[in-house]
């Protein structure tokens, strides 16, 4: 059983998804989905422990040896991302029942929701676990299709157009990636990532490979929502059901960042990608512009989910910035922020979900006085918001530290200053919400139901994330320590 863990982490949710279609009974399917999600998380934890113990794990699907067979290759980087995705999947699944009953218009079709949810989880885990390029494309499309479906389940009719817009842009991006894979296959004859890194040795400077490189950059940027290809994200996050936003915001773009890391460090090699191709000339400015403009736009949003969506675009900018440094500290910052942001944004969107459940709206005016009416929810929001700003003792501080350090190491003090200044922008948009919630009188309620705090089933998973935000902000051995080891192995500076 132990040696099948790499494929089990993908298979368990994959097989469970169609089973959800058969389980029509409400409680049964909910319980089943939650159990599957936690089982997947347990498998991912075991995988990480094994990788920490034994080093890179290589698994042959069906016993066919690579490079002809499909290989699942787990090293520290993917094990780390697997834990994030599976963990968020489990926590959001546990959080979901009460919220779905309020937000999904045809609530009796809950089993369809869980089917799509588990499929999306499968896709994301599959992208992360696999060591085969075409497999990445297939799972990318699986996760993308299920996320289009999930987003379209939102109550507002704009959820449909947002899902459609995401579909068009996302499919274009994924097809670009497919073109890139095809061109690389033409030049090397292999689809296995580790093998391709070897096979590319002689042909790196051919025009085909350079064109493939270009297609990858654009395709991944679309899926990752790097400025200016981020246009699908604000609408998709704002109008999707809260559960979906919380899940996707913490995982989908992060997995795309993982693809960036995998392709440009493992397959192409960082000397080629950041050395001769100077990818950082492209990535760094776009990341910086994304950070600043998205944060500025976020300040002026009145729909708080939309505000948090723009904040996500900015945070992706931080991750890409860290990667563009191509140094140990820079990569550590980028990778650890991948994890940290997942925690923060999920907590924030879960808080918004609680607010939607009680107030029915995410407009900032509806949040007046919520500090008094929904103390636990708002406290979670404030805590995660403080982490966005980068206050010490929270995870956000750790990411910012590494990013600034990496910038200073390369003498890029204006970049370092920008990273810190953008924290102030985050402070502005977080504090807007804090002031409205704590300093204004709550709206007069006409009798039938005063707003009370969210039910325990919503509060507990959210607070689990908040505690994680503080825990991993104080003791970072598990997150930054592993990120550093992953960074070193990506850069080839460690065995």
């Amino acid at each position: 059983m132990e040696e099948h863990l790499p494929v089990l982490v993908v298979l368990v949710p994959m097989l469970a998804a169609p089973l959800c279609l058969l389980l029509r009974h409400r409680t049964a399917v909910t319980g089943f989905a939650i159990a599957v999600a936690w089982l997947t998380f347990a498998i991912s934890v075991l995988l990480l422990l094994r990788v920490l113990d034994q080093g890179v794990i290589s698994y042959e699907l069906g016993g066919w040896p690579p490079p002809w067979g499909i290989e699942y290759r787990i090293d520290l980087l993917n094990a780390f991302v697997l834990i994030l995705v599976a963990g968020i999947g489990a926590i959001v699944a546990t959080w979901s029942p009460a919220s779905i009953s309020v937000e999904l218009p045809r609530y009796e079709r809950h089993y369809l929701f869980y089917t799509a949810y588990l499929l999306c989880l499968t896709g994301l885990l599959g992208i992360t676990a696999t060591g085969d390029l075409f497999n990445v494309f297939v799972f990318l499309e699986i996760s993308a299709l299920s996320s289009y479906v999930l987003i379209s389940m939102g109550q507002d009719r704009r959820a449909l157009t947002s899902a459609y817009q995401y579909l068009i842009m996302g499919t274009l991006g994924a097809t670009f990636i497919l073109i890139g894979i095809g061109l690389l296959y033409i030049m090397t004859g292999t689809l296995n990532m580790a093998d391709m890194a070897v096979q590319l040795e002689g042909v790196r400077d051919t025009r085909t490979v350079l064109v493939a490189f270009g297609f990858f950059v654009v395709g991944i940027s679309v899926k990752m929502a790097l400025f200016p290809l981020h246009l699908w994200l604000p609408n998709a996050y704002a109008y999707a059901p809260s559960v979906v936003t919380a899940f996707l915001a913490a995982t989908a773009t992060k997995v795309s960042v993982y693809i960036l890391l995998r392709f440009f460090f493992t397959v192409f090699g960082h000397e080629f990608a950041f050395g001769s191709m100077r990818l950082w000339v492209f990535l760094m400015p776009l990341a910086l512009i994304g950070i600043v403009t998205a944060s500025l736009v976020a300040i002026f949003q009145n729909n708080i989910k939309r505000m948090l969506a723009y904040s996500s675009v900015a945070q992706i900018g931080y991750m890409v910035l860290g990667i563009s440094f191509a140094s140990v500290n820079g990569l550590t910052g980028g990778i650890v922020h991948l994890f940290n942001h997942g925690l923060m944004k999920c907590a924030l969107f879960l808080a918004m979900g609680c607010i939607v459940m009680r107030c029915g709206s995410v407009h900032i005016d509806e949040m007046r006085g919520l500090g008094r009416r929904m103390p636990w929810t708002m406290a979670a929001f404030v805590a995660a918001g403080l982490s966005l700003i980068g206050v010490p003792l929270t995870v956000g501080f750790i990411s910012k530290w590494y990013l600034v350090l990496a910038a200073l190491e390369q003498g890029l003090w204006p970049v370092a200053a920008l990273v810190l200044l953008s924290s102030l922008l985050a402070a502005v948009y977080v504090w807007r919400v804090v002031e409205v919630a704590y300093f204004h009188e709550p709206r007069a309620v006409d009798g039938e139901g005063a707003i009370t705090d969210a039910p325990l089933s919503l509060l507990l998973p959210m607070w689990a994330l908040v505690i994680a935000i503080f825990y991993f902000g104080i003791s970072t051995e598990a997150t930054a320590g592993i990120a550093r080891m992953a960074a070193e192995s990506l850069l080839g500076t460690s065995p």
């Binding site: 010490p392 530290w401 200073l408 200053a417």
Partner: protein, 504 residues
């Protein structure tokens, strides 16, 4: 208890106190007792560390490795010891004062007040005992955040705006300048530990170090160096006990303490005197001293005048640090204690006047010395200490600061100190003089203020009634006034405690 345990207890005890306060929120007397008990216990614990430090020991404790090579660690050295004693001692006094004030004024949300107070004190002790720049930065930010609910206590529009300015300036300076400087120091020196003689010697050229010093100085927004001083008057929107402890003692002292610690233990006195790196800082501090004293003269609101006075006094300490001579550093460090007692007395009196007579503007305070003699006498004592006249503590710190300026061959700053003392007289003495020697103006409290007047009403001979502040308030301000006097005589103990900083 072992010194290590004492450190942990000192930082953690106020947090326990905060939890107790919240738990006891339904029983106000028990809740206040919890605050008093915690503050008393804290002082006791901090005192157990004193003999060890006086003997030359430097107790330390390592808590957790936050990032690779960076620990949250504590180390008690004389400067931190002094600050911890000041903070812990004055917490007791302020708690007593707060009980009188908050109840006398029928304030709402008292539980949140006492709880946030305790958290803020915990952060202040954390800063005092910080063993490296990372730990100091962590608790510095915790202090900013935990004092925000205190500054915006009244939850009015004005409180919100004041809070915005407070948080805006403090967060901006700490994130953009101070954190930048901390990470840069880590990059240059490979360590963030506080070491006698500093850690930056030989790590970079003079230009880089000058920029670094500027980032540290302006990044420590709590030291209220101009132009980043505006948060201090803005924070006066808070209830007076908050202003008293936090902005006359804890928050601002954390600021100047940070500057002093960075000068002594990160840059090192030799590096600074050798290269003249900090000369510009002396001039900035001098400018702040004079400019804010002049602004104080124009303010009619008593708390605003005291706020600008604080800005000025804080720069005394920064000047002492920038002079980087042994007398300068010692004078500045002593001033941390002297000014704390002096200013807190003045703020206590301001609050007492507000609670008892409902007055905030100095022009309304004519003749108030007759109805509130104890308060105004304490005010007088506090003023003398701030001005720097014997037999009050402030005299000693000013003396050493002047000596420090001479040691650095910068006699101009002696002139600055003298002019500043004259300005202090100009903005403090008239208040006292008018309180005692001028007849009260006809504008008394209006009728609808009747209900708000609280206090001890005594019938004295001659028919004029004495409406003093609530008893608890009086006890507190008399205690701190007595402290100003006592510090004059105990200055030598302070000096002996602090000397190892400059002569390790």
């Amino acid at each position: 208890m072992s010194p290590q345990t004492a450190i942990y207890v000192a930082v953690g005890l106020p947090l326990v106190g905060a939890a107790l306060v919240v738990a006891l929120r339904r029983w106000p007397n028990l809740r206040e007792a919890a605050s008093l008990a915690t503050s008393g216990a804290l002082l006791a614990v901090v005192l157990t560390l004193l003999p060890g430090v006086q003997a030359g020991g430097r107790p330390e404790a390592r808590v957790v490795e936050v990032m690779a090579g960076l620990w949250m660690a504590f180390e008690v050295e004389p400067l931190g010891m002094l600050f911890a004693l000041v903070a812990a001692g004055l917490w007791i006094v302020t708690t007593i004062y707060s009980i009188g004030y908050m109840r006398g004024h029928h304030e709402v949300d008292q539980t949140r007040f006492y709880a946030c107070f305790a958290v803020a004190i915990s952060a202040a002790i954390g800063v005092a005992f910080a063993g490296n720049l990372l730990t100091l930065f962590i608790f510095y930010e915790v202090l900013t955040l935990s004092t925000y609910p205190l500054v915006t206590h009244h939850r009015t529009e004005a409180a919100m705006r004041g809070g915005r300015l407070y948080l805006g300036i403090l967060l901006s300076t700490s994130v953009v300048f101070l954190l930048f400087a901390v990470i840069w120091t880590w990059y240059l020196a490979g360590t963030l530990d506080f070491r006698p003689g500093g850690i930056l010697a030989g790590t970079a050229d003079k230009g880089t170090l000058a920029v670094l010093l500027a980032l540290f100085a302006f990044g420590t927004g709590k030291a209220a160096l101009m132009p980043f001083h505006r948060w201090l008057p803005a924070a006066m929107v808070a209830p007076t006990p908050v202003s008293a402890l936090l902005h006359a003692v804890a928050v601002v002292k954390v600021g100047v303490f940070t500057v002093m610690k960075i000068i002594v233990y990160v840059f090192g006195l030799e590096l600074l005197t050798g290269t003249g790196l900090s000369t510009w800082l002396m001039y900035v501090a001098a400018f702040t001293i004079l400019a804010s004293s002049l602004i104080a003269l124009t303010k009619d609101n008593l708390k605003a005048r005291l706020a600008y006075s604080t800005v000025s006094q804080l720069s005394y300490i920064v000047l002492g640090a920038a002079l980087a001579t042994s007398a300068g550093v010692l004078g500045g460090s002593m001033h941390i204690a002297m000014h704390a007692f002096g200013k807190i007395t003045l703020f206590f009196c301001a609050g007492a006047i507000y609670v008892a007579a409902h007055k905030t503007e100095i022009s309304d305070m004519d003749g108030i010395g007759r109805t509130m003699p104890i308060t105004m006498t304490a005010f007088f004592i506090g003023s003398l200490s701030v001005i720097g006249l014997p037999p009050f503590g402030g005299a000693w710190s000013k003396w050493f600061l002047a000596l420090g300026a001479l040691e650095a061959d910068k006699a101009i700053f002696v002139a600055v100190l003298m002019i500043s003392s004259l300005l202090n007289v100009a903005y403090l003495m008239p208040i006292v003089a008018r309180a005692f020697f001028v007849a009260p103006s006809e504008t008394g409290p209006s009728d609808d203020d009747e209900g708000a007047l609280q206090g001890t009403v005594l019938e004295a001979n001659g028919g004029s009634s004495i409406k003093e502040a609530p008893t608890f308030c009086l006890v507190a301000l008399c205690a701190t006034a007595a402290g100003c006097l006592a510090l004059f005589f105990f200055a030598d103990e302070l000096y002996q405690l602090l000397t190892p900083i400059v002569k390790p």
